[in-house]
């Protein structure tokens, strides 16, 4: 019996098949990841992340899944040495040879760099690679304004020239940017309707004040109007706290009602979210929050949507 059928038959949480739509693998002993290898560490939304400055490989992932039935994972670039982004693809491919759950990859790109065209063409020849991520230049909420632009931002014409080449190379785009930049993302989605834009980490609702969440909701709704956009629900740990089911219930349910069940996918963001919480704890939380949803909706959120977005076999 396949994974979906088994869950539909039993309805048991333990049978719910999970495609982890966002995780990373690191081998910092053999490869260079500036943010993990260099000291001092950088400012980070979860604070001190020294606990993840170590290798994280498929055997490490497997040890953490507990009672969750994780059937496939999508590996997102891990801020590998920007001088050699294609080498990370080769590294992840080598892991995939021995790890059947490693189903797809999102590679590092530098859309405004001179070698962007060449790199994107290269990725087109690696079937594991489904899309690319390039964190655009963003600014703090305090410094942000409606007509924000900066070198390397989503409104940088050179950056957009790189973005314009994604479709022809069969690649989608993964956006990591805080919610106040989503109007720019909506412009991108409109201007490039052939490129799927997948928002990382729920658009980072770090500020859970009423005002902060209102801004997050408003911007999410602005982006959700574009049909070629999807949302990954992950990265919503709160530093120093157990995974906050009640606080996250609001975030998860709002995200789903804004983007619809058909366009959201849960993800662990492991090992990065491991700075704060256990992997089991995170998936337990998503399961608790979605307990009252229909089995088909839960399959969509935990499994089916990620398989569609990442074109998994």
């Amino acid at each position: 019996m396949d994974n979906r059928a088994r869950f539909l038959a039993s309805g048991e949480d333990a049978d719910l098949p999970i495609v982890d739509a966002h995780q990373h693998y690191f081998d910092i002993e053999h490869h260079y990841y500036p943010w993990l290898n260099d000291r001092p560490l950088r400012p980070f939304r979860y604070g001190d992340y020294s606990s993840i400055c170590r290798n994280f490989l498929p055997q490490d992932y497997r040890r953490l899944t507990g009672r969750h039935r994780i059937v496939q994972t999508v590996v997102i670039e891990g801020e590998w040495d920007p001088a050699t982004p294609a080498d990370e693809v080769r590294f992840v491919e080598s892991l995939a040879n021995d790890e059947p759950t490693l189903a797809a990859m999102v590679a590092q790109a530098w859309l405004d760099r001179e070698d962007a065209s060449q790199l994107l063409r290269q990725y087109a020849d690696h079937p594991l690679v489904r899309g690319v991520r390039h964190k655009p230049t963003v600014t703090s909420l305090e410094a942000w304004r409606e007509d924000f632009v900066a070198p390397g931002s989503m409104r940088d014409p050179r950056w957009r020239e790189g973005y314009a080449q994604l479709a022809e190379n069969g690649l989608h785009f993964e956006l990591q940017a805080p919610w106040w930049h989503l109007a720019e993302a909506a412009e991108l989605a409109r201007d490039f309707p052939d490129v799927t834009l997948v928002v990382n980490h729920t658009a980072l609702p770090a500020d859970r004040s009423e005002e902060g969440l209102a801004g997050w909701r408003k911007n999410l709704a602005l982006l959700a109007r574009e049909p070629n956009v999807a949302l990954k629900i992950s990265g919503i740990c709160m530093p120093g706290k157990a995974w906050p089911v009640e606080a996250n219930r609001v975030v998860v349910n709002d995200a789903i009602s804004i983007f619809d069940v058909s366009r959201c996918a849960f993800a662990s963001n492991y090992p990065v979210d491991g700075v704060v919480n256990g992997m089991s704890e995170i998936f337990d939380g998503f399961k608790t929050i979605t307990r009252d949803r229909s089995p088909n909706d839960r399959l969509a959120l935990f499994h089916d949507n990620a398989r569609r977005i990442y074109r998994l076999a």
Binding site: A150, P151, P157
Partner: protein, 319 residues
């Protein structure tokens, strides 16, 4: 809106959808009708763009119109061209004649020293001319970032200079600020002391040093100035002494300035004919239009015309 070319009976070669442009910074000179030492008998061996012999000839309204034939120019701001300092008001009077005949320049940024005996008198004489909206006056600056001359005569800390500077407010004139990038933080102190005096930073604050350290210092200067709401910035003159005009590098300068000041305080300017040492007018204007295209037409129009029109009060003539 009638273009300068139409006004002068010249064919309009600009594309249908061309942005209307108010060029916020250019120069004109008639070497037979005025003395310009730097273009005549006092050639500057240390000019910031190196060899400028090709500039040492007349640059007349007809020349400006010929070089801009493919643009939709609707106004210009003339900035003093270092005419002999005993001809400061004469430069203004000549530009008024040019305006009467050619319909531009539409605003004049004239010259006056701040720290001379006749400063008050010259400033009042310039301010009395209806097209004069601002003053450019270069303070004494050091020759390198390593050397500090703060407080010396004629610098931005010299009390006499500051006293003269303060008179801009009496005449409601703006100041065109042109200093090397290592003086930008000091200039921000002046801006903070005189919040009522509007300031236009020239030439994007001169991002001459494109090394990471140089760009960081330039950025710091811009950030200090942008904290003062009375400061605007002219996006112009990306020319470098030893390199050709490069779209990608200059795009970083333009987008950084826009990031720091916000589009509503940025004004396109050509700095022609000087910038012509490195690039054509079309390369500069079309290049910058492309750099900011993703911000949308309204922002492009503000940067290319609206902001300069407002800053230099193009519609008003005082007197």
């Amino acid at each position: 809106m009638i273009t300068l070319h139409e006004r002068n009976g010249l064919p309009n070669l600009a594309p249908e959808d061309a942005l209307p442009i108010v060029d916020a910074h250019h120069h004109l000179w008639d070497l037979g009708n005025g003395r310009y030492p730097w273009l005549q008998d006092e050639y500057h061996e240390d000019f910031f763009l190196g060899d400028y012999h090709s500039l040492c000839r007349d640059f007349l309204p007809e020349d400006f119109l010929a070089l801009t034939a493919r643009q939709r120019l609707v106004g210009t701001v003339h900035v003093e061209a270092e005419r002999a300092r005993d001809e400061q008001v004469a430069e203004t009077r000549w530009l008024e004649q040019v305006n009467a005949r050619y319909g531009f320049p539409n605003a004049i940024v004239a010259h006056a020293w701040f720290d001379r005996e006749d400063s008050a008198e010259i400033l009042a004489a310039q301010a009395a001319r209806p097209l004069v909206k601002g003053i450019r006056s270069k303070p004494v600056t050091s020759t390198s970032p390593e050397e500090s001359i703060a407080g010396a005569k004629g610098t931005m800390q010299d009390p006499k200079w500051l006293e003269g500077f303060a008179r801009l407010a009496d005449h409601d004139l703006s100041w065109d600020l042109r200093v090397p990038p290592w003086h930008l933080v000091e200039a921000a102190e002046v801006a903070a002391m005189f919040p009522q005096i509007r300031i236009a930073l020239n030439h994007t604050g001169f991002a001459w040093d494109r090394s990471p350290q140089g760009m960081a210092r330039w950025r710091k200067g811009l950030e200090a100035l942008a904290l003062q709401p009375n400061v605007h910035i002219k996006l112009s003159e990306f020319g470098l002494k030893d390199s050709p005009w490069h779209y990608d590098d200059n795009r970083i300068v333009v987008l950084t300035a826009l990031e720091i000041f916000g589009p509503e305080r940025c004004m396109f300017a050509s700095n022609f004919p000087v910038a012509g040492l490195r690039a054509s007018y079309d390369t500069i204007a079309d290049g910058m239009a492309a750099m900011i295209a993703p911000l949308g037409r309204a922002v492009q129009e503000a940067v290319f015309a609206g902001n300069a029109r407002r800053f230099y009060r193009l519609e008003e003539q005082h007197g």
